[in-house]
Structures are given as C-alpha cells and as structure tokens.
C-alpha cells in the first residue's frame, strides 16, 4: 500500500510527519511525499527521506498512491486525478462536505473526513477536531495576550498597581476549555459561558468562573452543541452584555455542527468594550460568534481588535501536523485489517459511518 502526502495549498500543516511515517513503514505501508510539502511545518524533504519516505511530484502521487492524505481537501478540479478505488483522507469541513461528496462518489473513491468522527471516548485518538481545537484554544489566548496592550496578570509595583485582565470565553468545548486553562495560567480572571450544563463543572475544574444562563437546549447525542432558541439567545445576550464590556479579551469558541455559528457578541457590545481590547473568534469560518468578525482577517473596530481565525492551529504547526498525522495513523489502523485493506465489518460502526463520505460502488 502506497500512501501519498500532498503539499497543502491553503494550510501550513502537512498530512504526515517523519515520526509517523516510520510507524507506517513498520506496518507495511510505503509513503511518498510531494516535494517541499513539509516546508511550512518546518520539515525538510531530507527529514522525510530520513524517515523512509520518497519525495516525488504531485502527479506521481495521483498516479501511484492507494491512500492519499491532505489536511485541506483537494481543489475540486483535482478530484478527477484520483485513482479509482483509492482512499482519500482529509478534513472536509462538515458544513460544506455534501457537494464535494457527490463528486468523490462519482470519481469512485473512498473518502473519509476526519473532522466528522463522533465525540466518543474510543474515537478520540482519531478526532482531528479535538487536536486542532485544543491548539486553537491555546493559541487564541497567546495571540490575544500578545495583542492586548496590557499585562494579563495582577501586578503591584512601585509605579502603580495593575489589575488583572478579564478574559471571557464563549463556548467551553475543547478549544474553550484550553483557552480557559491558558488564560488562568497567565493570571487573568476567567469567565466562561456555554449552553451545555455539564460544562459548568468542567469550567470550574480549570479554575474558571461559569456564567449561567438558564433554559439552554442540550447537546446532540454526538456531543456537538445544539442550536439554541431565539429567546434563550436574547437572555444570554443581556447577561453577557455586561460580561463582555468588562472584558479585556473575549475568546469566541461556540460552534454548532453543520450550521452557522451563533452570533453572541454584537456590534454594540464591541463598542462598549475598552479601547485596546481583543476578540479572538475561532468560529470565524462558520460566520463567527461576533457580528463584526471577518474570516481570516483582523478587523479593528473602535480600537478593538477582532481576530477572525478559525485555523489558529496553524500557529502551532509543528504540533498540529504531528497530532494530525497521529490521528490519521490511528484512523488507518482502525479502519484497516491486517492486509491493510479496509475492514468489511464496519458497516454498523459509528466512527466509520459518520466519517466516511464516499464509497466506491
């Protein structure tokens, strides 16, 4: 079985890293990597070769690979180059995958989207969203702390006392929790909201304060946030108006799978914030939790920075690539039998069915 790793065009990550390639070789796979695919992840071609991979061209991969890996999906016009029956592992964003799926189906390939794995204990080792959200939450706070023209921690110095900064985290999923932990570490006062009841304990378990809004709908079975009623959102907004205008940093990490992200931070709220404050919106690719967010841009509104970056995991690209590669490895292990072929007994399996978006007829 030959695994091919493409160079990414819209992302810094790379699908496999040397350490994982070694493990794959041991299993019996051989790996070919597009030249300079690792450059943005700080991995040289030589590093890949040292790990046992071959460097080759993109065409080469399309021609030879039985399994192709690319963190971001291929451009639509490249799908037709895929070998019939080959396995294509990527990270199709859940709310756009349907159109792509049709094309892949037509091409007759297996396609798996690792971001659609269910949030169960057993699936966690293949769960790309978990890995990436965790990095994003961590980096969101660092980015914000770097941008904030203030200390986060309290300081009593001979040139005056400095109050600790307030950090407000919206959505205590994986990213939100990591953000809470990181902000706490830096000495900020941290508050968070979420609609899922159990997050209250989770927030507290990291030293954060939980702002409670009653009447939330609970999460779906798969553990993804549920869409909330208008009334609830209004209530929440009132409570949060105050919280947000008092915050120095707002981390937006509330998403609902497959739909637009809930808008929670409105323009008025932003306008009541202190000058110099920072909003990091990790939901920007789904419209953002902040009304003013623009995806992949940093907007400055009324002296408030609003960073729309759903791909902050790229800011820790070395770790992000490694984690992704491990996720891929674990996933391949899970879906393959000892012959490295796809197991046939998985038709009922939740992980398999929810991540598989195209099967060759």
């Amino acid at each position: 079985m030959i695994i091919g790793v493409f160079k990414e065009h819209f992302d810094k990550k790379v699908g496999l890293v040397p350490i994982v390639i070694k493990k794959l070789n041991k299993k019996g796979y051989s790996v070919i990597v597009e030249s300079t695919a690792g450059r943005k992840s700080f991995i040289a071609n030589a590093d890949f070769e040292a790990a046992g991979a071959k460097i080759c061209t993109r065409e080469n991969i399309f021609k030879n690979a039985d399994i192709v890996i690319s963190y971001t999906p291929l451009k639509d016009d490249e799908i037709r180059f895929l070998k019939k029956g080959c396995i294509y592992i990527s990270h199709f964003k859940s709310y756009v995958y349907k159109e792509v799926a049709k094309k892949l189906q037509a091409q007759g390939v297996w396609a798996f989207s690792l971001d659609m794995i269910p949030r169960s204990s057993i699936a966690q080792s293949m769960d790309v969203l978990s890995s990436m959200s965790s990095i994003a939450g961590y980096k969101a706070v660092l980015r914000a702390a770097d941008l904030l023209p203030r200390y986060l921690q309290m300081m009593i110095t001979s040139a005056g006392s400095i109050k600790p900064a307030k950090v407000f985290v919206i959505g205590a999923g994986v990213a939100g929790l990591q953000a809470i932990a990181t902000a706490k570490r830096l000495g900020a006062i941290v508050e968070a909201v979420d609609t899922r009841l159990e997050t209250e304990d989770e927030v507290k378990s990291l030293g954060g304060k939980f702002l409670k809004v009653d009447g939330a709908k609970q999460a779906t079975d798969q553990g993804y946030g549920a869409m909330q009623s208008q009334e609830f959102i209004a209530k929440q907004r009132a409570l949060m108006f105050e919280a947000i205008s008092n915050s120095d940093i707002v981390i937006c990490a509330a998403t609902v799978r497959g739909t637009k992200a809930p808008v929670i931070v409105t323009r008025e709220m932003v306008e009541t914030m202190r000058r110099g404050s920072v909003i990091i919106d990790l939901a920007s690719d789904a419209g953002g939790n902040c009304e003013l967010t623009e995806d992949n841009k940093t907007v400055i509104h009324n002296y408030v920075h609003i960073v729309g970056d759903a791909n902050l995991s790229d800011a820790a690209v070395i770790d992000a690539s490694t984690l992704f590669a491990n996720n891929v490895y674990n996933y391949l292990n899970y879906i393959s039998n000892d012959d490295l072929k796809i197991r046939t007994d998985l038709t009922e399996d939740e992980i398999f069915t929810s991540s598989c978006i195209s099967t060759p007829k």
Partner: protein, 459 residues
Amino acid sequence: MEQILDLLLFCASILLIIGLRKLSNPASASKGNLIAAVALGLGVLVSILYPVVTDDNNYLIIVIGISIGAIIGIISSHRVQMTKMPEMVSLLNGFGGLAAALVSLVWLINNDFSGETGQLVIVLLNLFLGFVAFLGSLIAYGKLSGKIQDKHLRISFSTLINITLLVVAISAMIFFSISGNLSITHLCVFIALSLLYGFIFVAPIGGADMPVVISLLNSLTGITAAISGIMTDNKLMLLGGVLVGSSGIILTLLMCKAMNRSLLSVIFGNFSSSKGGESSVDGDVKEINPSDLAIQLAYSSRVCIIPGYGMAVAQAQKTIKDLESVLESNDVEFKYAIHPVAGRMPGHMNVLLAEADISYDKLLDLEEANDYLASTDVAIVVGANDVVNPSALEDPTSKIYGMPILELSKTKSVVVLKRSMKPGYAGIQNPLFFKDNTKMLFGDAKESIELILRELKDL
C-alpha cells in the same frame, strides 16, 4: 518466698502496663507486645510456684496442658494468613472466654457448688460472661470467615429478645446466688441461658461490624479474667483483666467513631441492612478506610496516581502533591500515570498537575505507565473511570472496546477514589471496581486524600 513471689507479681503488673503503653504507639508496639508477653509469662510462673493450701499441685497436667496449648497457639498463629487475622483473633478470644467459664466451673466443683452470696454472684457472672464471650466469638468468627452469612441468622425482634434474656439471666444469677447452693440442673439451665444470650447478642449484628463486636467481646473476656482474679485472689489477673476490660471498651468506642457510628447502633442497630446501601446495588465492592490505606501506602515501595476528571472537579491536585511529599519522605516512589483522554480536554491533567508544581519527570504516558503499573504496589485512581475501564480490553460489546486504557490487572492493589458508583463520561459500568485487588474509597477525592494525609501523619 511468698514475699518475693508477691513482688514478682507486682513487677509483672508494672511490666504489663508498660507493655500496653508501648503497644499503643506504632513505633514501639512490637516491643510492647513482647514486654506484655514476658509479664504474663512471669505471672504464670509465679502462679505455678506460689504456695497453696493443698499440695496436690498436679504439675504434670499443668505442664502438659501448657505445652499442648502453646504448640497449638504457635503453629496456628504462624499458619494463618495475614488477611485472616481478625478471624484468628475472634477464635482466640472465644477460647479465652471458654477458659474463664471453665475456671468458674472448676471453682464451683472445688467448692461443692456452694458459697457466700457475694462469691456466688461473682462466680456465676464469670460463668455467664465467659460463655457469652465464647459463643459470641465463635459466631463472629463464622461471620468473618464467611461460613455464616448474615442472612442465615435473621432474627425478628432481636433487640427485645436480647433485653429479655439479659434480664432473665441476671435474675437467675441473683436468685441462685442468694440460695447459697446450686443444683446441677440450675447450673445447666444457667449455662444454657448464657450460651443463648451469647447467640442472641451477636447473631443479628451484620458481618461488616464484626471487628467492633470482637473488640467488645474481648473486653468481656478481660472482665472475666479480672473476676477470675478476684476468685483466686491474684492481683495480676485482676489488674490485667481490668486493663483489658477498660482499654477494650475505649477501643470499641474508638472503632465505632472511626466508622462514624455509635456503639448502641452497632449492637441494636441490626444495620447489616442500612450499611452498603448505595454501593451494594451494583454488586459487591470492597471499601477501604483512609487509615488502612494510609498504612498500606506508607509501607509500599511504589505508588502510582491515576488522575481523571474527578481530580479536576475536586481540585485535588495540590493535596495530591502533599501526599507525594509525605510519601517520598518515606522513601516511597511516587509517579503519575496520565491517560491521554483523562479529563475533558487534551492535556487537562497536565495543566492541573503543573499548577500543583508536580515535576514533569514524574508523569508517565500511557505506554510507560502500563509498564510501571505492572510493578506498582498501590495504584490510586483519583476520580478516573473510563480510562481504567477493563471492558475496553475484555468486552467486545462495550462501547469503548478497543480503546487503550491504563491496565491495573497486574498492580498489586488498586484503590479507587470517587463519590459514588456512578459511571463516567462514557456512561458505562466499570468492572474494575469489582475486581479482587480493587478497593473503593467513597467521597470527594480531595477530602479523601486529606483524610489519608492525616492518618499518615499519625504513623
């Protein structure tokens, strides 16, 4: 001669007290036990040499008796397993009770079943207590060893019967004593009454409370020894018996306190039912108390903490760090086994343990941990659940089958700290809790560890 023997007896009493004192301190307990043994040995010697009115003496029988007893005692005490000690103690106590009863019987026979009222009251009391201690201890033994199950011995109105019997026995005692002379029939009736009371006293008490009962019966045996001392005018018996009697009662109360119960509720509470409510719903788990865990930890070489989401909820990380310091100062190797999905976000445990300033070197990841756990004496699971669930390995129908877990099957002893038998995130029951080498310590993790710490400081 007599004077010297009297003084020897005096010395024996003093030694006995010194022995008991040393027994009550862990550092010197072993020595105390020896001293007490020497004291009693001295006492026995004196009792053999002491001039008596008649000089039948029967030395041969005495020597034979002592030899047989000593051999049985030594052999059986060396054979018994460490875990069966409480059974052994209750058996021994039963023997002591019977011996006291026999002393009374012999006294009665030697005195032709008659005597002053005061004497007779004392002798009958001794007989009564001796038989109660004897049968009671045997039943306790049976319950502890599992030979008798609580359900075999359900008695209705046990409290009522208990009190009635007691009143009857006391009345009989007084009545017979005043008469000044006992018929054999009377004696047999009285013995039967005593045995019956012994049965009614212990039978309804639940197996879990047996340690308390044994301590109480032990105190009774002490009192019989004291009475025997009065009967035979021997100060060592008197004082030794009184010491055992009084310390036994205090010990009983302390044990009740450690279990958070009152003595009355133990005796009359019939609480084999009230106990173990929540936990027994889900099968038979074994609980451990903080004090026993503390001693186990102090005397082990390798301890491993397995933190989970519950540690985060309880915010127990700093207390765990304290435990680490205390145990490390006791030369215990102390590590942390971090399961990759423990907690509710990647690195949850890392963040918290770093907050408590726990050195990175002590953190083991899954693979290292599974090696380590195979040679660990005690693994303490602090609010983790799914990540130590052996169904992931053993039960192909389980939701989490195939997930790598921290494997505790080879660990000598596992203690799980959680508040209830509720499942964790995955919502499934955990067979680990029912394994042979697993014990549960219910309660908030932080509070439990604080209790352990307190006990450790007592050691």
